[in-house]
């Protein structure tokens, strides 16, 4: 395999693994957060506005971890700096 193939394979495989492994933690965390919020909503329906607001803020916080992984995988696929280097070298020859 020449270096172009290695870079392409590594980028694509890593992009998939990044989003795949990286969404495990946020998925568990969001499930736990929603479950806890539902429990507290059932116990205290009066505090629903506060609970919902805090839940949404917390969910977005947790989700941003998955979003970071998504951004990294998108960069690996669409805006890969190493790949651009290879293209520039190939164009220069």
């Amino acid at each position: 395999m020449d270096s172009t193939t290695v870079i392409a394979v590594a980028s694509i495989a890593t992009a998939g693994m990044t989003i795949g492994i990286g969404s495990i933690g946020p998925a568990l965390a969001e499930g736990k957060a929603v479950a806890t919020a539902l429990t507290s909503l059932a116990q205290q329906p009066d505090a629903s506005s506060t609970i919902t607001r805090t839940l949404f803020v917390g969910l977005a916080m947790i989700e941003s971890l998955a979003i970071y992984c998504f951004v990294v995988s998108m960069i690996l696929i669409f805006a890969n700096p190493f790949w651009k280097e290879v293209i520039a070298h190939a164009g220069g020859k």
Binding site: T54, F56, V57, L59, A60, M61, E63, S64, I67, Y68, F70, V71, M74, I75, F78, A79
Partner: protein
């Protein structure tokens, strides 16, 4: 496939580049400024209040209440900054219902600029409220051992603000684009509706986080921490 709207270039002269992000941002700013000017031209305090005026009043009072909930006692000082952030991000994500529109917040340069504004606003508000020495002392807040961690946290939360907004907006556009190639019939509409929801939540989060950071910098440490108003605990 274009990752962001930065890559769509309309006009270029030397190092001056006019891309889609800049054009959309300026159109947004123009629409918001013109709309606000038109609505606030004839405000009335009694009699029949026009629909637009009550709409703006609802927005302003809600923002004030939310800022107060974060722990900032005088929301009028911070309303202009935080409210502008919220309205800009919210309008940018609301306009995704327009065909052919790509939100300028889906480009890392816009969100980095917004996050830099927050990064600069925190020390400005902090120094204004507590003085230079009082603000600098907040970096050594629990103990002086936390000084490097506080500085790192200041930088990393700015990065997190920028990347969070960028990632959410960009992923919404990207998912709709991918769905258009797979199932172009109904599903993109649902994803756009979901994008509207996430856009509003992200605008809210961005504002609340900026407010929390400012509150953390401006709240003077009380001798009895139990009586101090507790801001929403947030660390990204």
């Amino acid at each position: 496939m274009n990752l962001t709207s930065d890559q769509m270039i309309f006009w270029r002269h030397g190092f001056v580049v006019l891309n889609e992000t800049i054009v959309t941002t300026w159109v947004m700013m123009f629409v918001m400024t013109l709309g606000a000017m038109l609505i606030t031209r004839k405000l009335v305090t009694e009699g029949r209040i026009s629909r637009w005026q009550s709409g703006l009043e609802i927005i302003v009072t809600t923002l004030e209440q939310q800022i107060k909930d974060v722990g900032l006692d005088q929301p009028a000082i911070y309303l202009s900054f935080l409210g502008t952030l919220f309205l800009f991000v919210a309008l940018c994500s609301l306009c995704i219902v327009l065909p052919g529109y790509r939100p300028p917040t889906g480009s890392l340069s816009t969100t980095a600029a917004l996050a830099l504004c927050v990064f600069l606003a925190v020390p400005i508000f902090g120094v204004r409220k507590q003085g230079l020495w009082g603000y600098l002392k907040t970096y050594t807040q629990p103990t002086w051992i936390m000084l490097p961690f506080n500085i790192i946290g200041e930088l990393s939360r700015t990065l997190a603000l920028a990347v969070r907004l960028f990632g959410n907006m960009m992923s919404g556009v990207m998912i709709v684009a991918i769905l258009l190639t797979i199932t172009p019939f109904i599903f993109p509409i649902f994803m756009t509706a979901l994008g509207l929801l996430t856009g509003m939540v992200q605008a809210y989060i961005f504002t609340i986080l900026a407010g929390v950071y400012i509150a953390a910098a401006t709240l003077t440490p009380k001798p009895n921490p139990k009586s101090a108003p507790e801001p929403v605990p947030a660390k990204a």
